[in-house]
């Protein structure tokens, strides 16, 4: 009996292994490249400009489908392509009735990006607190990391020992500000290539938002007022160099996106009604006049043009065929009833999930393999009763099940 169980177990494992390996080999051989469009807004002709790869070349169009030359695109988006225009000597002296200030235009240009997997990813639970006013240009890595539990603990990297005095001082400052340990979220920029340190943002066990910095070795810790019904899901800190309008993006549980202003910690909501952080890549390019926002999903892009007061100017969306809709995907859908996947768009952790059983093509092939299996059983004079489980497996998993029961044959000695 046990040898039968051992066979069924190894057959099931084989089905799962093959359902990952065979589609992977197929994709390696027949994968197709999907070029995503880049969409930005032209304040000159008040329309979006879409650039995309077609037949190995980049083409530019407006939303009406009119083709545009590359140099025209530069001129229609002078704030976005100011470096190119300046380099070519094509930058106008006045733009939109304003004298062109190249320094201001360069300073107000920034790019931010939030990937969909940022919300669920492995984390050591160790963070860095830089000195925010060292008196030096730039920032330098501190000698310790901190962790959060019932208090804040700074651990010296050289000795791997807790700095008790520093931990006590910071824990006390946090408790005095009303911070309820343990922390829920910690966000900061843990790299020294930032222009200036703005510390870390934390939420406590009550969901309240706080700002933590170290100023000349002392704690700077303040509570930030947020609306009572706001539940923070994610904080993404930004370093926009000279443009210091805001410190971070705040995403709430109901997927509203706010910026946290530098001057007064006020929150401004971005007019993006359909942001799904776990499914979309968020990009924001800021220029002197416009915020160009793109939300990129698996098979669609939504673009928004927003003015500097964060009012919506215009929006645009488009979608494209996914692999499943192409010939390669349709053939895969027939060959493989399902695929065992380990990667997901919304996490950096591995995730086991099955995709497939779409359309009807796979049923035909499964029926074929069931027929072939029955034929082989009859030819080898096998009894139906002893092979019923194999038959069900082949019916459910098609090519994977057929290969598995063939590799590990059910011998009737």
């Amino acid at each position: 009996m046990l040898h039968k169980i051992s066979r069924y177990l190894i057959v099931i494992v084989t089905v799962f292994v093959l359902s990952n390996v065979l589609p992977h080999i197929y994709n390696t051989l027949f994968d197709v490249r999907i070029d995503l469009p880049f969409v930005s807004y032209s304040i000159i002709n008040e329309d979006f400009i879409i650039s995309r790869r077609e037949n190995g070349e980049t083409v530019y169009t407006d939303t009406k489908g009119n083709f545009l030359e590359r140099h025209t695109v530069d001129e229609l988006q002078p704030y976005l392509f100011h470096y190119q225009l300046t380099n070519d000597g094509r930058m106008p002296d006045t733009l939109m009735g304003e004298k062109t200030d190249l320094t201001a235009i360069a300073q107000e240009f920034f790019y931010n990006n939030i990937e969909s997997y940022m919300y669920t990813r492995p984390d050591y639970g160790l963070y860095i607190l830089f000195e925010s006013q060292s008196g030096r240009m730039g920032v330098e890595y501190p000698e310790d990391f901190f962790r959060l539990g019932k208090g804040i603990e700074f651990i010296n990297c050289h000795t791997n020992k807790v700095n008790k005095e520093k931990s006590r001082v910071f824990t006390q400052a946090m408790a005095e500000a009303g911070f309820a340990f343990p922390a829920q979220k910690v966000a900061g920029i843990p790299f020294d290539f930032k222009s200036i340190d703005d510390g870390n943002f934390l939420t406590d066990s009550n969901g309240e938002l706080y700002h933590l910095k170290m100023v000349k070795g002392e704690p700077y810790f303040v509570k930030i007022a947020i609306p009572q019904d706001m539940v923070i899901k994610h904080i993404d800190c930004v370093d926009n160099r000279n443009y210091r309008e805001f410190l971070a993006y705040i995403i709430t549980e109901n997927n509203k996106l706010f910026i946290l202003k530098t001057d007064d910690y006020s929150l401004t909501e971005l007019p993006i009604p359909d942001y799904i952080p776990e499914k979309q890549r968020f990009t924001l390019i800021g220029d002197y006049k416009t915020r160009h926002v793109s939300l990129t999903g698996n098979d669609y892009l939504k673009a928004y043009a927003i003015d500097k007061n964060y009012n919506l100017i215009d929006s645009y969306s488009e979608s494209w065929p996914v692999k499943e809709d192409m010939i390669q995907g349709k053939v895969a859908g027939i060959l493989f009833p399902f695929t065992l996947n380990f990667w997901a768009r919304d996490t950096q952790f591995l995730k086991i999930w099955l995709s497939g059983y779409k359309g009807y093509g796979w049923i035909l092939l499964n029926v074929f393999f069931v027929g072939l299996f029955v034929f082989l059983c009859i030819r080898n004079k096998k009894t139906f009763k002893n092979n019923i489980i194999d038959l069900i497996l082949v019916a459910l998993s098609g090519i994977f099940g057929f290969l598995a029961v063939t590799i590990f044959p059910n011998k009737e000695y």
Partner: protein, 222 residues
């Protein structure tokens, strides 16, 4: 009789297990010496930073050691059994053949797990001198799939070694390679945490696969 079987398996595996333990310990001492060296020459905070924020894995050299250990243990335990078909002697003992084989698998698995546990303990012990518990625990979490790959490799090596047909052996080996590859599909630290129960289940499902090969062997599959 069961004690005799245990003793027989112990005789086959004791030096191999000791050898693997010593090599594993030397590897660990080796990469921790590198950690110490790097922290003295460079900055400890930079070293921590590379681990915590740049996904550096300071024990990467250890990645395939558990897999190799599983393979060697499986070969050391089952190759002698197929030499001159000595397994026939075991199968003729007055006991249920499946129970006999499972005892063999249990002995091999227990010895392999003991080696792994000692190596993980040493890793954590030395590591706690250099790093806080957060880095050590996440590192162990990163290594767990590697150790499970070693156990799966041991199980599948047993199945392949005891398989009587060469063609089947080659097919099983290819399949085993594909399966074991699933334990190494990312270098991201602790990325397997969410699917650990699944890969433990996969590994467990392969644990008695040798029974299928033994059954075919006993039935005279040539």
């Amino acid at each position: 009789m069961w004690n005799s079987i245990k003793y027989k398996e112990w005789l086959k595996l004791r030096w191999i297990a000791l050898g693997l333990l010593v090599v594993g310990m030397l590897l660990e001492i080796g990469f921790y010496s590198t950690v110490r060296h790097s922290m003295i020459l460079g900055n400890a905070n930079q070293y921590w930073h590379n681990i915590v924020f740049r996904d550096a894995v300071f024990y990467r050299i250890f990645k395939f050691f558990p897999l190799i250990a599983g393979l060697i243990t499986g070969l050391a335990q089952y190759l002698p059994e197929i030499r001159d078909k000595r397994i026939k002697l075991t199968l003729h003992l007055p006991a249920k053949e499946e129970k006999l084989i499972l005892w063999m698998v249990l002995c091999g698995t227990a010895i392999l797990i003991a080696v792994y546990v000692l190596l993980i303990a040493l890793f954590a012990l030395i590591g706690s001198y250099f790093f806080p518990i957060q880095i050590i625990s996440q590192s162990v979490c990163t290594m767990l799939p590697w150790f499970l790959a070693g156990l799966a490799a041991y199980n599948l090596t047993a199945c392949i070694t005891m398989e009587p047909l060469w063609l089947q052996r080659i097919i099983y080996a290819a399949l085993a390679a594909a399966m074991v590859n699933l334990f190494f599909i990312t270098n991201k630290f602790c990325a397997y945490r969410t699917i650990l129960p699944w890969i433990i289940l996969f590994t467990t499902m392969t644990s008695i696969s040798v029974l299928y090969s033994i059954y075919r062997f006993r039935k005279g599959e040539m």
